[in-house]
């Protein structure tokens, strides 16, 4: 217990130090920064972050790409599930994330492919109708992916339960809309239905391909 607390404190100290370095914009070659870099490397060598306290699957009832009601808990119960929050007018990270998962999924045996549920929840439901998602998701990711849309407050509340903060899309004076995607992909276990592993946007198809067989069994990657 005592040791754990110390390590936690160290981790936060690291984050504070890195924060200041980043904001200062100065060089990071000072001796005080060196151990910081070492510890930071440790934390980023693996794509997966396994949570000590997993998230309960949010009670999201939305519309799928065919406009049918989709109850997330009911439909994905007992199935390995990846959830990502994003929007289709996103040129970079959202298609990158969907594409990486799609490529990794294709490397799995057919039986595992069928088990895996990949859920894309829009953060921009006004523009991302069921029809838009139906058009975008197969090109960005895969035909098998589930696209969900609905009321923004419902989606925002669902994301919040997973520690993902999503601001509502904001319309600029020139008519452009600024939307926001989630920072992580969350993996839910088929054994517990809890969200127990996080993946950041730097996760490669290889990282996913390596971890998916374990996630599909509900094991820790």
């Amino acid at each position: 217990m005592h040791k754990k607390t110390l390590m936690a404190a160290a981790a936060f100290a690291v984050s504070a130090a890195l924060t200041l370095t980043a904001c200062g914009g100065g060089d990071s070659s000072g001796s005080a920064d060196k151990p910081v870099a070492d510890i930071a490397t440790q934390g980023t060598t693996k794509a997966a972050t396994v949570l000590d306290r997993p998230f309960t699957k949010p009670n999201l009832v939305l519309k799928d790409t065919r406009g049918r009601t989709f109850d997330l808990r009911e439909e994905t119960k007992g199935k390995p599930t990846l959830i990502y929050f994003g929007y289709t007018n996103c040129p970079d990270v959202c298609p990158l994330t969907m594409s990486n998962i799609a490529i990794a999924r294709k490397s799995l045996p057919k039986a595992d492919q069928d088990k895996l549920q990949v859920v894309f929840v829009t953060t921009d439901p006004e523009r991302d109708t069921s029809a838009e998602l139906a058009k975008w998701l197969p090109s960005a990711g895969d035909m098998s992916f589930i696209g969900l849309t609905g009321d923004f407050p419902t989606i925002q509340a669902g994301a919040r339960q997973l520690g993902i903060g999503i601001d509502p899309p904001r319309k600029e004076k020139d008519g452009t809309v600024v939307s926001m995607h989630g920072a992580q992909v969350i993996a839910f276990s088929p054994k517990t239905d809890d969200g127990y592993v996080l993946y950041g946007e730097d996760t490669s198809p290889d990282d996913y391909a390596k971890d998916l067989p374990k996630l599909i069994k509900g094991e820790n990657p």
Binding site: K3, K4, M7, A8, A10, A11, F12, V14, S15, A16, L18, T19, A22, C23, G25, G26, D27, S28, I39, A40, Q42, G43, T44, T49, V50, L51, D52, T88, N89, C90, P91, D92, V93, P95, L96, S99, N100, I103, K135, W136, S139, A140, D167, E172, T176, V178, S179, M180, H181, G182, A183, L198, G200, E201, D202, S204, P205
Partner: protein, 168 residues
């Protein structure tokens, strides 16, 4: 258990850090030597010397696309990328990304002796209402406009959707 906790926290800390790294108003060049007097090859006050490299456009999904490129300034004066034009779209803008949110900017800094790195997850060129669907292997011609340097024409090859050379 202990180790896992600390790693998770370290990861959480890193996330916070990356978020806060956006607190400076401009882009974050890899080089930390914007000063021309620190022994870089350029003489202080010399004109900006820009070169563009490693550009690409991931194959677009739908009618919008992103462009990425690294612009290096070996001169002794800072410059700015102020706009981009292309025959792919009449609506091309430059964006920064902060906190998973991308917003249009009027310019991006290219520090003296440093670089402007448009890379995945960060700053990028945004093409809206595409006039055609570029395919892998094709090229997208763009013209980069700067505050001081004359416009520069660059061909950006179209790469797979998930192409990400910056990842390590």
């Amino acid at each position: 258990m202990n180790r896992r906790t600390s790693l998770a926290l370290a990861a959480a800390g890193l996330t916070a850090t990356l978020t806060l790294a956006g607190c400076s108003s401009g882009p974050t060049p890899r080089s930390s030597s914007p000063s021309p007097s620190d022994g870089s090859s350029a003489s202080p006050g010399s004109e900006p010397q820009l070169t563009a490299a490693d550009g690409y456009v991931p194959k677009p999904v739908g009618d919008l696309a992103a462009g990425f490129i690294v612009i290096t300034n070996s001169g002794g004066t800072a410059d700015k990328l102020t706009s981009v034009t292309s025959d792919l779209s009449d609506d091309v803008t430059i964006h920064k990304t902060e906190n998973q949110k991308m917003t249009k900017v009027t310019s991006l800094d290219i520090p003296a002796g440093g670089e402007l790195n448009l890379e995945r997850g960060g700053n990028h060129i945004m093409f809206m209402s595409l006039k055609r669907q570029p395919e892998e292997g094709q090229k997208v011609r763009v013209e980069l406009h700067f505050e001081k340097t004359a416009p520069m024409k660059v061909d950006l090859p179209v790469k797979p959707i998930n192409y990400n050379p910056a990842r390590h």
